[in-house]
């Protein structure tokens, strides 16, 4: 008698799997990556290649040493490496990039249990580690198309000097991290992720909205604050990182709100000109708390 396979339902599944999601994120990130290389030239290209490759190799070696299944094809190490490259100064010495990448995939991700278990966004945590280790190299910025060092728009604003116009900021023709400068290209990537329903509105909208409104209320230029620094990159690509943000819609909104508040506090009252990195890391810590306390109402149950 022929016996057929049995399994629990549902017997059909949606087409999209985790690996496909990761590769779509990679595709979306390629727009700001190409933009960064266009503005900052060969050093940027080498940094992207080195950091991404280091992340992949680092994860592979770590998984092999830890006797875990090697899951390089799932694309998550590529995403981590690419994201890290995008938030580094374009002229950062390559060895520092390598160390950052390894810190991201081993220290921040692997040691916590791998994909799905890390508390902090690996790329942002690695950037914080690099900033603490090499503060000068990590805050050395160059002008696009030139090798002349200069200050970022947010720093210029902080010390009260003239800043680039909105249009320059939108196109990305300003100093800054490798992939954070061109708002246009970041938005193209974000639109791809929205259309593919890979990211949703609550966190980015709450994050950008809070920065805009708070800047306005505190007497700063709201549009300038949205367009400069790493806000757009952080809001669409970091505050939407599945693993390190809450799972509910309401939770994600609260997460974005918190990121906005911390960013504004650091930018306007803190010692650094930019607060996106630390604000998201700070809110990452709150994610488990938000997940426990912000739950949807269950049908047929009172709150």
């Amino acid at each position: 008698m022929k016996l057929f396979n049995i399994s629990s339902g549902p017997h059909v599944r949606a087409a999209e799997d985790a690996t496909m999601i990761m590769w779509w994120v990679v595709i979306a990130l390629l727009f700001p990556t190409v933009g960064g290389i266009y503005y900052f030239g060969w050093p940027a290209a080498w940094l992207v290649a080195t950091v991404t490759l280091s992340a992949v190799i680092g994860e592979m070696v770590f998984q092999w040493l830890a006797k875990r299944p090697v899951t390089i094809v799932d694309g998550s190490a590529v995403v981590t490496g690419l994201l890290l490259a995008l938030i580094l100064p374009p002229t950062l010495p390559l060895p520092m990039g390598v160390i950052g990448a390894i810190a991201a995939v081993v220290l921040v991700k692997g040691l916590f249990g791998g994909l799905g278990y890390n508390i902090f966004n690996p790329a942002l945590a690695a950037r914080a580690i690099l900033l603490a280790s090499w503060p000068v190299a990590m805050t050395t910025w160059v002008k696009p198309f030139e090798t002349v060092t200069t200050a970022t728009p947010l720093y210029l604003a902080k010390i009260g000097q003239a800043t680039p116009g909105y249009w320059e900021l939108f196109l990305g023709n300003r100093a800054g991290s490798l992939g954070e400068t061109s708002i246009l290209l970041l938005l193209i990537g974000a639109v791809i992720l929205f259309v593919k329903k890979i990211i949703d509105w609550p966190a980015p909208a709450a994050y950008i909205g809070t920065v805009f409104i708070a800047a306005y209320c505190l007497g700063h230029d709201p549009l300038f604050n949205v367009l400069s620094g790493g806000l757009i990159l952080g809001a669409f690509f970091m505050a939407t990182d599945y693993v390190t943000v809450p799972v509910t819609t309401k939770g994600r909104f609260i997460f974005g709100l918190g990121c906005g508040v911390i960013t504004v506090l650091i930018r306007f009252y803190g010692g650094f000109p930019e607060g996106v990195n630390y604000s998201i890391l700070f809110m990452n810590m709150w994610t488990p708390f938000i997940d426990v306390h912000v739950r949807p109402r269950v049908l047929g149950c009172k709150k």
Partner: protein, 432 residues
């Protein structure tokens, strides 16, 4: 709380009229075909039985008697494997060659002539259970302990592939509406709502035409899975919520499937017990999909043979729909009262997925129609943290499968939930 728009795959059978399946030569009848208590046989091995004769019954309330689907001889009363390959007490009837089943001579009563008590009695004696798949004994549902104001006749049929209810609505609208009125009469309800999804516009039209002389409400809903789940449907239609752990009757509602309504009308008008039901036989693994009116107890193999057989690459046999159906190992299984569909998927459609780690994307949270957090529930189930499972409302899960359907890590969420629910039930029993 959104639900899903699924690929419907109903085009395989939605235009095919229900045809009477060939009379089986042998039927296998598990004694328990409803939720609740099992029946005891009231015939012996060797007895001759006539089509429609009651052959198993019980004194227990939550049960429904069983009738002979064909005329023949009882050849065995034994433990036979059920759809889960688990041995259950079953009756086997073999047709006697040369002696055809005569069919039942019906009487012709009007639904309005029955008192509520008579309706309940006829429904019980006819062995009618919820035909949407849940198989709750209908006469129990018609004896509510609380006042009922609304009867919902569920014609959503939101699971992909299945078209049994769709065809019934098209082909037997008069009986459907009569059955609905009988249900409302039995429970003393004022309002009757027939809910149909908008992927069945032709059925809506037919029902509207037949409703001209009546005042039933025909409501057309967008086609969203799992709208046919009664808790979800009640919220959508009435804005009321069945309390956690409660029943629709707690909020003055009862929900019956369209097939059940038709069976009730048949029983009242002709005295016929429930011995046949419409089964959609479909899927990529069936050569010629059909809607068949099959005798209860007919084997899957026999029905599939009348559909051109299964393809060479048939990989999975599912009793019910693709979302909540039960995969069975062998074609040797009989149709039971709750079998609305026999779905055969080929190798390509019945892929086995490798489960990966959760990436916390939250798709399951957004898909869950009752507002649960499936990702955390799965973690707690794996950790056997039963306190947390209760705290996170595992008991309110309707097992619709939306979470597992959308999961990009292919986690077998429903499987964990079913297992954990079973374990919780056992623990509670032990505690008492």
């Amino acid at each position: 709380m959104s639900g899903l728009r699924l690929k419907e795959c109903k085009e395989l059978t939605e235009r095919l009229p229900v045809q009477e399946a060939a009379l089986p030569t042998r039927v296998v009848l598990p004694l328990q075909q409803s939720l609740g208590c099992p029946n005891d046989p009231i015939v012996n091995v060797g007895d001759e039985v006539a089509e429609g004769q009651k052959i198993a019954d019980t004194q227990k309330t939550v049960a429904a008697p069983l009738h002979a689907p064909i005329s023949g001889r009882i050849i065995a009363i034994d433990n036979l494997p059920n759809a889960c390959q688990y041995p259950v007490a079953s009756l086997v009837i073999e047709a006697i060659p040369g002696r055809e089943s005569q069919g039942l001579v019906g009487s012709h009563w009007q639904v309005d002539e029955f008192t509520p008590e008579q309706i309940r009695k006829v429904v019980r004696e006819a062995g009618i259970v919820g035909l949407g798949g849940a198989t709750f004994p209908t006469h129990v549902k018609l004896s509510p302990s609380k006042p009922i104001d609304t009867v919902i006749i569920n014609g959503c049929e939101c699971e992909p592939y299945i078209t049994a209810d769709h065809r019934l609505m098209l082909e037997r609208p008069a009986e459907l509406l009569e059955g609905a009125r009988a249900i409302a009469r039995a429970v003393g309800a004022e309002n009757i709502i027939v809910a149909v999804e908008n992927n069945k516009q032709d059925a809506v039209q037919v029902l509207l035409d037949h409703n001209k002389n009546h005042n039933l409400k025909i409501v057309v809903l967008p086609s969203i899975y799992p709208q046919g789940g009664e808790k979800v449907l009640i919220r959508k239609l009435l804005g009321r919520e069945v309390p956690s752990g409660g029943l629709p009757l707690d909020i003055g509602v009862i929900v019956n499937n369209v097939g059940t309504a038709v069976a009730i009308a048949d029983a009242l008008k002709t005295g016929r017990p429930l011995i046949k039901r419409v089964v959609t036989i479909t899927g990529s693994g069936v050569k010629k999909p059909r809607n068949l009116l099959a005798r209860i107890g007919t084997s899957f193999a026999e029905l599939l043979a009348q559909c051109g057989g299964i393809t060479d690459d048939a990989a999975k046999i599912i009793m019910g729909g693709p979302m909540t159906g039960l995969a069975v190992a062998s074609l040797d299984m009989p149709v039971v009262k709750g079998t609305n569909c026999l779905l055969v998927l080929n190798q390509r459609d019945a892929r086995d997925y490798e489960e990966k780690g959760c990436i916390r994307c939250g798709r399951c949270v957004r898909a869950c129609p009752v507002g649960l957090l499936p990702n955390f529930l799965a973690d707690f189930a794996k950790l056997r943290d039963y306190e947390k499972l209760v705290d996170y409302h595992l008991a309110d899960c309707i097992e619709c499968g939306c979470c597992a359907y959308v999961c990009p890590s292919r986690i077998y969420l429903v499987q964990y939930f079913k297992g954990a629910k079973q374990e919780l039930k056992t623990r509670r029993a032990v505690c008492r």
